[in-house]
Amino acid sequence: MLSRRRFLAASAAAGAHAITLTPRRAGAQPTPRRGGTLRVGFYIEAATMDPHLSGSKIDRQVYHNIYEPLVTLDAKLGVRPGLAESWQQPDLRTLVFKLRRGVKFHDGTEFNAEAVKFNFLRMKNEPKSVRKGEVASIDTVDVVDASTVRLNLKRPDAALLATLTDRAGMMVSPKVVQERGSELERNAKGAGTGPFEFVEWVKDAQLVLKRNEAYWDKRGGPYLDRVRYRPIPDDTVKLQSLQSGEIDAMDYVQPRDVAAVKADRNVVVVDVPSLAAFSYQLNQTRAPFSSKPLRQAVAAAIDVEQIVKGVWLGVGVPANGPVPPTSWAYDKSIAPIRRDLARARAKLAEAGQPGGFTFTLTTNNIPINIQEAEVIQAQLAEAGITAKIKLVDSATLISDGNNKNFDMISYQWSGRPDPDGNIYQFFKTSPGTSLNWSGISNAQLDALLDKSREAPSQAERKRLFSEITKILQEELPMIYIVHPIEPKAFSPRVVGYEPIPDGMMRFKDVWLR
C-alpha cells in the first residue's frame, strides 16, 4: 500500500511531460552487443501484415519494425526524416519529398519514387484499403525523378505530414504486392525496408522477425538477431511471464500493476506518455443529451481529478480536451473541467430537471472501464443524476456508436501524432464520417476545424486548437477524462529502448545485455 501511495506522489510530481526512465537505466551505457532474441508479449495477435488494410492497433507495433514510413516521429512528436531525406512545401497544396537513395526492400527491389507512387495509389484505390480517409487530401502523385516525389493536394492539409509517420506513410514493396496479392496479409516476407525482416508467422503462437543485414542506416542497430512476438491474452499472466523471464518486453502494464512492477528488481518499467484521449461521447441526436444544460450538468458532476487518481492511479493526466500533453498543440492554460455540484444542480434546473434524470452509460466490459463507470455512477448520484451502466463487448460498443444507439458511451481513442487526428473526424459536420458519434453539428466549430487544416503556421494552428478545445468544453459532444500513460515493461537485460509517445516499440537500437 505504502509503495503505491509513494508512487502516486512521485508520478504527480513528475508532471505530464516527463519521460520517466528508472534510475537503473539512466547510468552510462556500455557498448551495444549484437545478437540474441528479444521475446515480446502482446495482449492479442496481429490481424494482418498489410499496413494498407490494417485497422488494429497491435499490427502497428510489428509494422514499425518491418516497414518504414516516409517520415518519422521524435520523442517530442516532431517530424523527422524517414525514407524521405527531406521535404518541401512550395505552397499549401503541394508536398515534395526527396527520397533516400540506395534503400532496398527486403526482397532486393529498389525503393524509389515509382514505389512511393504505387503505394499511394494502392492506398487510394484498393477497394479494401482502410487508409483512404487518411490520404483523402492527396489528389495526384507525380514522379519528378527517381528520388523525388510530388504530392498534389485537393485542399490544404496541415496534418498530412504527421499522418505519414504511421501506416499511411509506410512503403510496401510493389513487387511483393503484385506477385503475392492478398497473401501479404499473412506473409510479409520481403515486403518492407525496415531494420527487421519478416521471417514467419505461426498463427496463435509466434511472429518472428530477423535482423535486416542490409539495412540502409549504418549508424546504431539493428543489433538483435531476432524479435519474437507472442500473444498472451491475460494481463496478469503476461506480467508474470515477464517477471519470471519467459518474455523480455511487454506492450502495456495495467495501472493497477504499475506500482508493484516498479518495485520488482526483475522488471524495468518505462512510462510512455501517449497520444491517447479517453472520453465519453454524449449523443446529441436524442434525449436526454440533446439538451445542452444536461450535458453540462453531467460534466460538472464528474470529478475527473478523482478518477485519474483513484481509477487510473495516476498513470495518466486529467484531460482538458482532445489534445494530449505530449503534443506541441497542448494548451496548459486550459484547465480540465472542474467538479462543481452547485453548477451541476443549477444546470439541471435550467434544463427543467431539478430533481435529476436517468440515462444509460455504455462501456466496454473490461475491468478498468467497469471500475471507471462505477466511480462516475457514484459521482453523478451525488448530483441526483442516475446513470445505468450497460456493459457490452467491443464489437457491440462500436456498432452502438456507429448507429448512435447510446446516451453516453465510452470512447478510448489511441490518438494520432497530429492533433487533427484527435479532433477533426470527431466533430466535423459530415454525414460520411462515422467517428462523429455524438452527432455534433456546429457551424462555428466546423469553420474552425477547416481553418485548422489550412493554417500556414504551427503557432496559428495551436491557437485554433485552443479555441476548439474551449468550445468543446462548452458544447460537450465529449467529456474528456484522461490522457493515459502507457507504461512498457522490460527485462533488465533489454537496453536502448527509446520511448516515443505514439507508444510503438521500435527495436532498431535495442540490444540485450
Binding site: M1, R4, D235, T236, Q254, R256, D257, A259, A260, Q306, K309, G310, V311, N365, I366, P367, I370, Q371, A373, E374, V375, Q377, A378, K388, I389, K390, L391, V392, D393, T396
Partner: protein, 259 residues
C-alpha cells in the same frame, strides 16, 4: 451439513440489508484495496467498497442466478421431456433432436452467444443458462416417462380409461420428481459456477451490482496486490457450491438407498 450451509447462504441472501456491515455500493477512493481490518473484515475492493458487504449482497445475485436458471431449465426441460415421452413418434423425434442440437453446442459458447443476443444483465444470464441446462432435464424426464408408462399400474389405469393427462399428472410426474430434484440440486451448483465463468468472459451482471463471479472477475487482476478481493467471494462460492452438492448427494442417498 450441506443443508446448514445452504440455509445459511439463503439466510444471508434474504437478510442482506441487515447482515451487511456497510453499504455495498459506498465507494471510498482514498481507501482502495485496504487490507482486512476490524472495520472491513474482508478488506476493500478497487474502488474502496467493503468486500464483506458485497459478498453478502452478492449472495442474492449468485443464488438467484443458480436457482432461477435451473428452475427455468427444470420447467422447460420437464415439459418438453413429458411431451416427448408421452407423444412419442414424430413429436418425440423433433423435440429430442432439438435437445441434441442444444447439447452439442459447447455450453459456454451457447451461453455467450445467447447472452450477447439477450443483452448483458442478470436476465440474459438466467435465460442463457436456463437454455443450456434444459436438455439435461428433458432427457431425464423423457427417460422417466418411458420407464414409468411401461409399468403395470399405468397399464391398469389406461385400461380403466383414464385420460392421458390424468395418468401423467397422477402417476408419471410424481414418480419422476425425485430424480429431477436430485439433478436440479446438482445443477444449481453448476449454474452458480457457470455464472462465474460468464462473468470471467465479461458477460453477466451489470454494475454496480455484483455476483460472486463478477467480484472474482473484477478482482483477479489484483491477486498479487490484494488477494482478499478474490478470497471473500471465492470462499463464499466454494462453500455454497459444496453445500449444494452435499444436499444433492444426501437427497439422492435418501431416495436411492443403494447408492
Amino acid at each position: 451439513m450441506g443443508v446448514l450451509v445452504l440455509l445459511l447462504a439463503l439466510l444471508v441472501a434474504v437478510a442482506a440489508p441487515a447482515v451487511a456491515p456497510h453499504d455495498p455500493l459506498k465507494q471510498d477512493l482514498a481507501h482502495t484495496l485496504a487490507r482486512p481490518s476490524r472495520a472491513h473484515p474482508l478488506g476493500t475492493d478497487n474502488v474502496g467498497r467493503d468486500v464483506l458487504s458485497r459478498v453478502v449482497w452478492g449472495a442474492r445475485v449468485s443464488l438467484i442466478a443458480g436457482f432461477v436458471s435451473v428452475a427455468i431449465a427444470l420447467v422447460t426441460g420437464g415439459v418438453l421431456g413429458l411431451v416427448a415421452g408421452y407423444a412419442r413418434g414424430r413429436v418425440d423425434g423433433v423435440v429430442m433432436r432439438l435437445m441434441d442440437a442444444v447439447l452439442s453446442f459447447p455450453p459456454l459458447v451457447l451461453a455467450l452467444a445467447l447472452g450477447a443476443v439477450l443483452g448483458a444483465g442478470l436476465g440474459g444470464v438466467l435465460i442463457a443458462l436456463g437454455v443450456v441446462y434444459t436438455p439435461t432435464f428433458a432427457r431425464l424426464m423423457r427417460a422417466q416417462v418411458l420407464s414409468i408408462t411401461a409399468r403395470d399400474y399405468v397399464d391398469a389405469a389406461r385400461a380403466l380409461g383414464a385420460p392421458g393427462w390424468r395418468i401423467a399428472a397422477r402417476h408419471v410426474v410424481p414418480n419422476a420428481t425425485a430424480p429431477m430434484v436430485v439433478q436440479a440440486s446438482l445443477s444449481v451448483a453448476f449454474a452458480i459456477l457457470a455464472e462465474a465463468s460468464l462473468s470471467f468472459l465479461g458477460l453477466g451482471i451489470q454494475p454496480p451490482a455484483a455476483s460472486w463471479g463478477s467480484m472474482i472477475n473484477a478482482g483477479r487482476g489484483y491477486l498479487q496486490q490484494a488477494p482478499w478481493i478474490v478470497f471473500g467471494p471465492g470462499a463464499a462460492l466454494l462453500v455454497t457450491v459444496l453445500g449444494l452438492n452435499f444436499v444433492g448427494d444426501a437427497v439422492r442417498d435418501a431416495l436411492d438407498p443403494r447408492a
